[in-house]
Amino acid sequence: MAGLVTTFGSGAMTNSIRDISDAACILAIGTNTTEAHPVIALEMKKAVGKGAKLIVANTREIDLVKDATIWLRHRPGTDVALLMGMARVIMDEGLADTDFIEERCENFDEFKKSLKAFDLATVERITGVPAKKITEAAFIYATNSPAAIFYAMGITQHTHGTDNVIATANLAMLTGNMGKPAAGVNPLRGQNNVQGACDLGALPNVYPGYQSVADDAIRDKFERAWDATLSNKPGLTVTEMFDGAYNGSIKAMYIMGENPPLSEPDANHAIEALKKLDFLVVQDIFMSETAELADVVLPAASFAERDGTFTNTERRVQRVRKALEPVGDSRPDWLITCQIAQKMGIKGFDFDSPSEIMEEIASLTPAYGGITYERLEEGGLQWPCPTTDHPGTPILHVGIFSRGKGHFVPLEYKPSAELPDKEYPLLLTTGRNLFHWHSGTMTRRVSGLNNLLGEAWVDISPSDAEKLGIAHGDRVKITSRRGSVTARANVTEVSDKGVVYMNMHFAESAANVLTNPALDPVAKIPEFKVSAVKIAKA
């Protein structure tokens, strides 16, 4: 997200789901869309059916490859090289949209200089993709307009994730694919309300609406509205919080609806950190792995038992409606937090309903300024929606970028933090499966879904399997520098030679026991997508 803020001024999907099918070219990189965002994959397939070209860049032979015009099988962690290589071809062949660059962008010359390092021979060596294919993909992307880029965690969960994102943004600006229908740069958000949680300021550096905590005028506005003294110092990220808990500087934690032992990198470290806390409160709908470690567990109402809103990946604020009474003595999360605050004597938490909270949100968050529950009855609204007569914004950066000029950023290729070596010869990458979701607290409880996929598998290429004497279905032990787990081997051509793959959903074979907690320096996202492992028969 930080990458798009730097280049465009706003870190969200630039276009809408409904215009995906009008694209003339789609570049899907670092997204296994049919598994993780199946309904968006339908729109991509619709576009292909209407004649769009589809470029899939993925180390794995994912389902989308079947519909692809061209498939670039680059090594995990080499996205910057691949995208810069394509940019270089577009420049050299005179396919860049020079009018767009001149009129709407800045810092282009610096960017152009940084392209020098990405001649096709170098790019081929780094990525493993033949130069001819890179050229072909660059031609397809640059000559079929409008062209839309889609990416997900495969781009962001790297130590150079911000660079990866910037590389996609550079490519879109270079070809003038911004601020028009069916184009743009479109990050697909993993969880139902990641967009909303970010929008509403559940981040250590910004208030709701991405208003910086370090900005005095903004702090002043919130101090007056909330009648409180606020800090101008950005706070700790989740990963830093766990480090703090581990080394004793953090003593108490209040966790609402998250399950960090499965979602944090280096899961063993996260569990140790939670155990060291003096006081842990967990609020959830199930007794999760995190809740087991808590001092107090609070029962939350499920999404079907309360009112509220979620903001989806295309910035659309949509209603969640109460269909049932909360089970047992459970309560909606907002109410629980308000009641804790009131017990502590903190002012400003006497909300009666979520719609009243939305009124306060609208009054302090410019992008949500025109959003009311009354309007949402007519259907979702895409932010920015600053006033009550504003129709919402399906496409960002039309005519002008949020930050004014689109900012080209020069890039260099940086290898991943941990690469395979003699001791740990295989590269592990992680992802999601259609039948389960995130840490599995919900989907692992659905018998039908468990029936279809009930245990963790590790995908391994036939040649690696043969070398290791592993047969399809064998139980194998996967070990990294941080720990080891067991899973069943799925010997498949989907996995490239030297690369193995696991899903993140299974507590008993938690892939994140293995993954590397090395962070992207800007976005503080851990490198889930590349770590070194070894595999042996269990």
Binding site: G49, Q191, N192, K251, M442
Partner: protein
């Protein structure tokens, strides 16, 4: 898009070019019976029920596959058409259980009533999960069939229950092809197709393999478009009609599909993807379609606050739990307390939690797992 004017049953109608005769009639509120037609699928013209008479056009064209043109004069319910439709429908019913469909007492019967005509329990409408929402019933009622003269050839097939979510009872299939087409056209999967020929024709997987050995992704789109009881979600099979419906947003991935929860007696009966919106256009995935009810009604749901005493959780009242949390959290130095919010919770939950952290503790140590 230009406008064109045509006349249907004496009514003048203006529509955009490209609209079919059926579409024009629907816009004007004129009912034409259909079974293979579905608004999300390309016209198929297989069921022959939507046939109409059009002046200066030969034969009886299928209105679902005929584009409306300027000056067209269309008739939708002449005696000739109704007679033709009755014949087509009779053919269809000769392979579908129909004693109840042609019985004038159908709507008066309950599932436990004794049938005076001794209709087999497997052939009754009242025991069919689709009773009351069946499109075949609707069409029979419109055309009016009192008797099926043709010999009845029931298929006598076993019900296919091998997948965990829905049942396939091809004794009720009328070969409209919607399931086959939605899987191919909308989902781009093509896990099923028509198999065999002639009177043996049925939708199925390649070589009759189980769905789990096909490309099926269990999205449920086939179940949603089936006009009869042939495809039905197992969990709602004996539930009847819902009491109410509530529109909400799917709690799984970031696409934000709009879903309709069908409710009965305080529980979720079925979850259906909503058609009329800009996000999912009537589609969902296996998690949203089949993976919600069991989570919401799971026996493991936490129902009361729990406080750990001597390493074991004990039930507590809300007052006890809130009191304990408030006094404990107040006892630490402010910068020793951190808060983790959630990308699974609502906007309002997130707003309240960050406000709580910032105003209550005077720092910004609040984050969530967006990056993970």
């Amino acid at each position: 898009m230009g406008e064109i004017t045509l006349t249907i049953d004496g009514q003048e109608i203006e529509v955009d070019t490209g609209v079919t005769v059926l579409g024009a009639a629907q816009q004007a509120g004129i009912y034409i019976p259909t079974l293979c037609y579905h608004p999300d699928l390309t016209p198929y013209g297989a069921c022959r029920l939507c046939l109409v008479e059009i002046e200066n056009m030969r034969g009886l064209p299928a209105s679902c596959a005929t584009p409306a043109t300027n000056g067209m004069v269309v008739r939708t319910k002449t005696p000739q058409l109704q007679e033709f439709r009755r014949g087509v429908l009779e053919l269809m019913l000769s392979e579908h259980p129909h004693p109840c469909l042609t019985c004038w007492r159908r709507e008066r019967c309950g599932p436990f009533d004794i049938c005076l005509r001794s209709v087999d329990i497997t052939q009754r409408c009242v025991t069919c999960p689709k009773n009351g929402t069946c499109e075949l019933q609707e069409v029979v009622d419109y055309i009016g069939i009192e008797n099926v003269e043709l010999p009845s050839t029931l298929r006598g097939l076993p019900i296919d229950r091998e997948n965990p979510f829905f049942e396939r009872d091809y004794n009720l299939c009328i070969l409209c092809g919607r399931c086959v087409r939605v899987c191919q056209e909308v989902r781009g999967v093509g896990a099923i197709a028509f198999t065999s020929r002639g009177s043996e024709t049925l939708p199925g997987t390649a070589f009759g393999h189980a769905l789990r050995d096909s490309d099926c992704r269990y999205c449920g789109a086939c179940v949603d478009v089936c006009p009869t009881g042939a495809l039905i979600e197992r969990r709602r099979k004996y539930e009847g009609l819902p009491d109410t419906r509530v529109t909400t947003t799917c709690p799984y991935c970031g696409v934000g599909c709009q879903l309709e929860l069908e409710l009965k007696d305080g529980h979720i009966m079925e979850v259906l993807p909503l058609r009329d919106n800009d996000v999912n256009h009537g589609q969902a995935c296996v998690k949203g379609r089949f993976g919600i009810t069991e989570v919401v009604h799971h026996p493991d749901r936490l129902t009361t606050p729990l406080i750990k005493k001597n390493g074991k959780f004990e039930g507590a009242t809300w007052d006890e739990a809130l009191e304990l949390i408030a006094s404990k959290l107040s006892g630490f130095k402010k910068n020793e307390v951190v808060v983790i919010s959630s990308a699974k919770c609502t906007n309002e939950d997130n707003y309240v939690v960050q406000k709580f952290t910032r105003t209550g503790f005077g720092h910004n140590n609040v984050d969530h797992c967006a990056r993970l």
